[in-house]
């Protein structure tokens, strides 16, 4: 998997967060992970299909989910309910949509699936036979970790 595929996802996350007033985003250490993906309580998975295919996972803890959902809804949210789940899915969808737009402008075309949300403790997702690029993005509202596994279709 080419490392340059990850950059549009980082740029998109930073830009979407900025639109919601979160201006300070600190990029953590980039890792190449093979095998199962350990999840930090909540994972939003979006499928990718086209000239490149695979999936992106956005991983965060429950408090971070609540904070981001509040930003999107423009209201205070206290419990992890259907609105929060939907808002956080949409948040992931907006990031991925923006990344598609950026990659499309570089000539790489693909479509995305609606977001699927997984919650649970000590979860591990084993899905792709290729290594994933994983990068945490730290913000004042919590950390969102992008986990991207893509392969080129020939």
């Amino acid at each position: 998997m080419k490392a340059e595929y990850l950059n549009p996802f980082i740029v998109s996350t930073v830009e979407i967060l900025k639109q919601f007033g979160v201006n300070k985003v600190e990029k953590g250490e980039l890792k190449l992970v093979k095998g199962g993906v350990k999840i930090n309580k909540t994972a939003i998975v979006i499928g990718i299909a086209g000239e490149i295919s695979g999936r992106v996972i956005y991983d965060m803890d429950l408090d971070t989910c609540l904070h981001f959902a509040e930003l999107l809804m423009g209201e205070e949210l206290k419990e992890f309910n259907e609105i929060v789940k939907s808002a956080i899915g949409e948040f992931a969808n907006m990031i991925t949509g923006k990344a598609i737009t950026l990659l499309h402008e570089q000539g790489i075309k693909f479509k995305i699936s609606p977001p699927t949300l997984f919650t649970g403790k000590d979860m591990e997702i084993t899905d792709m036979d290729i290594p994933a690029l994983v990068v945490p993005l730290k913000t004042e509202k919590g950390t969102i970790t992008i986990n991207l596994a893509l392969k080129e279709q020939k």
């Binding site: 979407i16 639109q19 919601f20 959902a69 999107l72 809804m73 423009g74 259907e82 609105i83 929060v84 939907s86 808002a87 899915g89 949409e90 969808n93 907006m94 991925t96 949509g97 923006k98 598609i100 737009t101 499309h104 402008e105 075309k109 479509k111 995305i112 699936s113 609606p114």
Partner: protein
């Protein structure tokens, strides 16, 4: 909550009223419950009557036929039947349908594709800040008079 949008509600370029003062009928199509809630809050805040919500393209077509709204907001990435397909189906049955795409995907090809299929406008999410007046102006221009 209505006060938040008062200035738009009072401005005929942005509000959800027809010239005779009756509310414009809006159909909201988005698979996200959260986004439907956000759109409804803004739309009702400026005067629209939200006649129905749909969470996929198939439902959108059914709701359109049932309620004949003056204007539709249409997401693209949705389960089962996607928004661009629903756009085609609705326009085929009502060539005068007024549909504005409201989606997270903003590349030129997607915009061009939607406009060719008959969309009257294209707004990229998130619906926050400057995107709110932009959305309201686009909806008002596109709505049946």
């Amino acid at each position: 909550m209505a006060d938040e949008y008062k200035k738009y509600r009072e401005d005929p370029e942005y509000n959800g009223f027809k010239d005779d003062g009756t509310p414009l009928k809006l159909l909201i199509v988005d698979d996200s419950l959260a986004i439907r809630k956000v759109i409804r809050r803004i739309a009702e805040g400026v005067g629209y009557e939200v006649v129905a919500e749909a969470s996929n393209g198939k439902e959108a077509e059914l709701m359109y036929t049932k309620f004949l709204p003056d204007i539709v907001t249409m997401d693209i990435t949705m389960p089962d039947v996607e928004g661009d397909e629903a756009l085609e189906m609705i326009i085929r049955n009502d060539p005068d349908a007024r549909i504005v795409m409201l989606t997270s995907i903003g590349h030129k090809e997607a915009v061009k594709n939607a406009i060719i299929k008959g969309a009257k406008g294209y707004i990229v999410k998130p619906i926050i800040g400057d995107q709110i007046p932009k959305l309201l102006k686009t909806l008002k221009r596109a709505a049946k008079k």
